[in-house]
Symmetry: C2
Subunit: 344 residues, 2 copies
């Protein structure tokens, strides 16, 4: 198996910088759109053969060093009794606004959570056994709770923030239940063969460090510590998290995901050498030209510092990204990081 990604997560020496792409199985690929023209997003997520198929699509096109199971961060919520539509972002039919709604959320056992996705992980871990590691993932408590309370995507999640500040007991109970289910779900993916896991905190940027630390961080820490000794690298990706300061380093992860706003060198300076770093090419720069892309790849590789760096985008790849740009990106990362000129 190509173990570059896992070695980089463990900060071991590598012959070149490994890479994968957030949302690498997605709408920018014609073969993905072909599958989606026949089935809706929910069916795609709930049919293990189809989820496995689209997970593998980007690997057939590009030299990537990891795969990530195709699913949605809201997938495990259905096991808790939540009704979700995708339009295309998640829309919650009955947003959670009080303690009574929280108390109705089921806390399923490990074997009952998102069983189709866990089956997909099982299929993929066999398929990929001699190829690249498979990454499992889940949404972080804040991010999932924000959707559940707001009812849909939002710029600042104002309804959720008010709920969090006002309904302290209900918010704590909600975060506690999400923490239990998320821990079990990630463990189930590891049991099924995932070789690494990533916790996506897409909306980490809506709170101050003070509020995040007191109201949210303990739950994130519980999730990561529940996986102590699981033997797989744990990645924490908090998006737009510059205001959170040192919090990402205190989550309990092995790898810190960095979005495109923060320089990888600054992240390493802040959090130290005790972590690997993943990121952080701005996905909007894939819609430029090869000159811009190549020069930015060089810069990101230099900021990444070589050892302990997994090249990735700073956010999910955009739907209208040209395939040719992805080829340019993958080729440039391989070329520039193999020269030995970058970092250590």
């Amino acid at each position: 198996m190509n173990d570059l990604f896992l070695r980089a997560c463990r900060r071991e020496s590598v012959s070149r910088t490994p890479m994968w792409i957030m949302r690498q199985a997605g709408r920018y690929l014609p073969e993905y759109r072909e599958v989606r023209s026949k089935v809706d997003f929910r069916t795609l997520c709930e049919t293990p053969e189809l989820s496995a198929k689209v997970t593998l699509q980007p690997l057939a096109r590009f030299d990537l060093d990891a795969a990530i199971v195709f699913a949605d961060i809201m997938t495990p919520l259905e096991s808790m009794g939540v009704s979700i539509d995708f339009a295309p972002g998640p829309v919650i039919q009955d947003p959670i606004r009080d303690r009574a709604a929280v108390d109705q959320l089921r806390i399923p056992e490990k074997g009952e959570i998102a069983t189709n996705t866990v089956e997909t992980v099982r299929i993929l871990s066999r398929e990929l056994e001699s190829r690249v590691p498979l990454i499992g993932f889940a949404g972080a408590p804040l991010t999932v709770a924000a959707y559940l309370v707001e009812g849909k995507g939002s710029k600042d999640f104002n309804v959720f923030r008010s709920f969090l500040y006002r309904e302290r007991a209900a918010a704590d109970e909600l975060l506690d239940r999400l923490t239990q289910v998320t821990s079990r779900y990630l463990q189930a993916q590891i049991d099924a063969g995932a070789k690494a896991i990533q916790l996506f905190d897409s909306w980490a940027g809506i709170l101050s460090a003070r509020d995040y630390e007191s109201m949210i961080l303990p739950y994130v820490q519980r999730i990561f510590s529940s996986l102590d000794g699981c033997g797989v690298p744990r990645i924490y990706f908090a998006q737009d998290a510059a205001a959170l300061g040192t919090i990402p380093a205190r989550a309990g992860a092995d790898v810190i995901g960095v979005d495109w706003r923060t320089d990888l060198r600054d992240a390493r300076r802040l959090h130290g050498d005790g972590f690997a770093y993943q990121g952080n090419f701005d996905p909007a720069r894939l819609r430029t030209n090869s000159e811009v892309i190549e020069s930015e790849v060089k810069r990101v590789l230099e900021s990444g510092g070589g050892t302990g760096h997994i090249f990735n985008l700073g956010h999910g790849i955009l739907p209208d990204t040209p395939i040719e740009s992805v080829h340019t990106l993958v080729d440039a990362v391989r070329r520039f990081s193999s020269t030995g000129e970058i970092g250590s």
Copy 2:
């Protein structure tokens, strides 16, 4: 005239911490909704008597220490030949995507820019002469350009970011024209009697510090330096700007606006005592209860440090904020900052 706000902007001693509220004339006020039930947003912005009327509405209810002219950050764009709808956020009929579109933007003379808003400033500066200072404002180049290119509000302004990275010459020309017009527009408001100005950089959070510094900051600096010697305090409010590090302090403003994500004490530690600071009560905390509001007011006042602090929200007040909560807020700021227990 109540000069607390101006004294605080100049970091002079004050008997209590002055305050105003971003978007204080707005939808949370029944008397504002009453006006809006009869005229649309554009007519309201374009009719000086009506704009002046709603500007004064919050002052009749609350003990506020400044007024801010009622207008939209896109208002001056119409003088450049841009067609804008409000739905309710700005929607650009023909988004700017290339150099040809940029070259068609007019650069009006000072006396031709948003003349209705400047007339509103003139009316209000007479009305308020013996009461409180009037603040004029404009949108920052990045924020206005982001709307013009994206065509509407967006979470990350992905289309604009790609344009900025790809069309360097067109982007520079666009930012240059916006800079010229914004400088003249602010000067016109000062000529008409505005006692302070604020530059709103609502989307400052979409770029890395490196890109902001090289592609955007020079234009912001040009705007502020064009007002050197104008005699009125200049406020720079960059929202979600934690990733920008020290950039807000290098803009050339006298007062740094801080959003709810960043602690005022941390902002002062980073940027130093050479500035006054404005902010940063989380507007979502106004939809809680008086206990939460009062305890947070205390905390914000303590972080603000007394001298050189203008109390404000960390973002615009939300439309469904209870009036009662605003009374609680205003009363608490006055009470807690007059005791002499807070800061200096």
